[in-house]
Amino acid sequence: MAAPSAPPGPETAATPPERRVTPARWLRENLFSSPSNSLLTLITGLLLAWALVSFGRFLLITGRWDIIEVNLTNFMVGGFPRGQLARLWVAMAMMTIAVTISAGITSATAAEAAIAADRDPSVTVRERVQRAGPPLVLLFVMIVFVRTWLPLALLAGVLVLGVGGFRVGRRLPARWRGRAGIGAVLLIVVALTAISSFGGVSRDAWGGLLLTVYYTVGSLLLAFPIGVALALGRRSSLPVVRAGCGIFIEFFRGSPLIALLFVGWLILPFFLPVGFPTPDLVTRALIIFVLFTSAYVAEIVRGGLQSIPRGQLEAAQALGLSPWKQTRLVILPQALRNVIPALVGQAISLYKDTTLVLIIGQIELLAVAQNVTQQEAFIGQGYIAETLVFVSLIYWVGSYWMSRESQRLEARLGVGTR
């Protein structure tokens, strides 16, 4: 049947018809297809141009960026004692090594999986630039504002460590990967301890971006496993577990975050057992963020669990997998993959919600932006726009980066295609 001769039927071209779009045609089709559309295009174009020009003027000409330059350290760490900054640099170096080695291992595993599935494992330059784009923008802005050579040299050192860590991670033999992962987690714990313990700086003296990142990353890392456990608990066959998880979730989802932060600030200490050391305020706020976020994560994950067809569970049961392995190996991976967009939405939301600690008197990034305008040199001169634009950039870079990485993760796990 599959004769090499010409196929029967009418002759057809070997390639699909070519569709060329010239710039002129694109403009005509998309922007000037009718008189009313042309008018709209014109108006929108003018508005856009006006906005761009005024923002550009502000950025380059009228903006007085000296307030950022003078207060860069304040933005980064708030009231962190200046004599102890070395601890932060050491911690940053350790965390960079931990994170980049893990990233290198992940990258190597992804490449191996690609090779096993007969796909091209190489990453294009374009992809690399896109991934590194947002952090590089931030780095560039920071470098513009740094006035002394020491932070620049230290930053360069951290970057070198990061590149080195990534390379080491990529080349690490497969059998060491598990141990390297555990090592990375330990290194991060050691780094955090190095900042606050052994004569270090109590968390209550932390501020600025340091505090914002600590709250965001800390709550996400803790809230995620707790949320997954709550979601599974809410579907448990044991009524007590089910009810307990349900009450927990509904309570924390039903309370305003601000109210919960007040509870953590003022009321939580009274509920602790007598003689139990009261945790510092930052830790109490972190606990509140974790509880609040885990309730939301739980409901997102529960939605994911419900999206898995019953046949998947039946197939796992029929193979003789234990109930825990049915969940861990078959149901949960698919459920989590399906809710990546919602989970990242929650992460971004939490990142921005950390600004609320302002009302319990903590000076995180946004609070710094307000406070520095009250300094003697700047008070009453309307510097608020400059500081807000600067912290907006930092929030935007973080949110956009999370969003981009989640899109990459979705693509890698093949959401919607497999």
Binding site: A117, D118, E314, Q317, A318, G320, L321, L329, R418
Partner: protein, 259 residues
């Protein structure tokens, strides 16, 4: 109603006479609807039994009770000496020894075909990865899709997916295979490739219960055919006897409608 066990004993296929699966007066209710009414059936070691009947007659429920995907309400089910009971250890024991193939394949979409097949051997039987993978490749050769090993289920045709699902069930080296309408979701040209695999499996001496509408397969491969209607076993006989000389009116009616 004819007693299924009588004809079962009258013909003991495989020549061993050993009973692999025994159902005794099994009943199953879905709320007020009785899906199985006092079903008696014995399946011999290495026997291939085809279960047919109109939709809603309880065929799928019957085989799903055997590996406890459904819980039966009354009666007794014994698989290779192990009773199907509330005891989780008994259920796990039976599920390890019983492979099941579903109408909608139910391959795990987040795993490659090879990972689908090695999952249970590695995590239930604790086989080393290499050994499980080597065995999986043998099974993929057997169902004739070795070149699909590293693809994901979504990249395969329906027929290939179902053959992969059969390989996944076989990877646990089961003593019994249950087929729940394995070809009903397939395009006509893919049905044959799945039936060929099932026929080869039956010839190799696997004990099989197949719920299917493929009468050609039943006639050709089955040792016995069970005809069910409205939750009861109406008639059990060799394919030849059942198709050419049905005893019950209900069977005659069904056969006249589908043949």
């Amino acid at each position: 109603m004819q007693d299924g066990t009588l004809t079962g004993k009258a013909r003991s296929p495989g020549g061993t006479g050993k009973v692999m699966i025994e159902l005794h007066r099994v009943e199953k209710w879905f709320d007020d609807f009785q899906a199985l009414k006092a079903v008696d059936l014995q399946v011999g070691f290495r026997e291939t039994v085809v279960v047919c009947g109109p939709s809603g007659s309880g065929k799928s429920t019957l085989i799903r009770c055997i590996n406890r995907l459904e819980e039966h309400d009354r009666g007794r089910i014994v698989v290779d000496g192990t009773p199907v009971s509330d005891d989780l250890r008994d259920i796990q024991e039976i599920r390890r020894e019983t492979g099941m193939v579903f109408q909608s394949f139910n391959l795990f979409p987040h795993l490659t075909i090879l990972e689908n097949i090695t999952l249970a051997p590695m995590h239930v039987r604790h086989r080393p990865r290499k050994e499980a993978a080597a065995h999986a490749m043998e099974l993929l050769e057997r169902v004739q899709i070795p070149d699909q090993a590293n693809k994901y289920p979504g990249q395969l045709s329906g027929g290939q997916q179902q053959r992969a699902a059969i390989a996944r069930a076989l990877a646990m080296e089961p003593k019994v295979m249950l087929f729940d309408e394995p070809t009903s979701a397939l395009d006509p040209e893919m049905i044959k490739e799945v039936l060929d695999v099932m026929e080869e499996l039956a010839e190799s001496g696997m004990t099989m219960i197949c719920v299917t509408h493929e009468m050609g397969f039943a006639r050709h491969v089955a040792d016995r055919v069970v005809f069910m209607a409205e939750g009861s076993i109406v008639e059990v006989n060799t394919p030849e006897a059942l198709f050419t000389d049905p005893q019950e009116e209900r069977t005659k009616l069904f056969l006249s409608q589908i043949l």
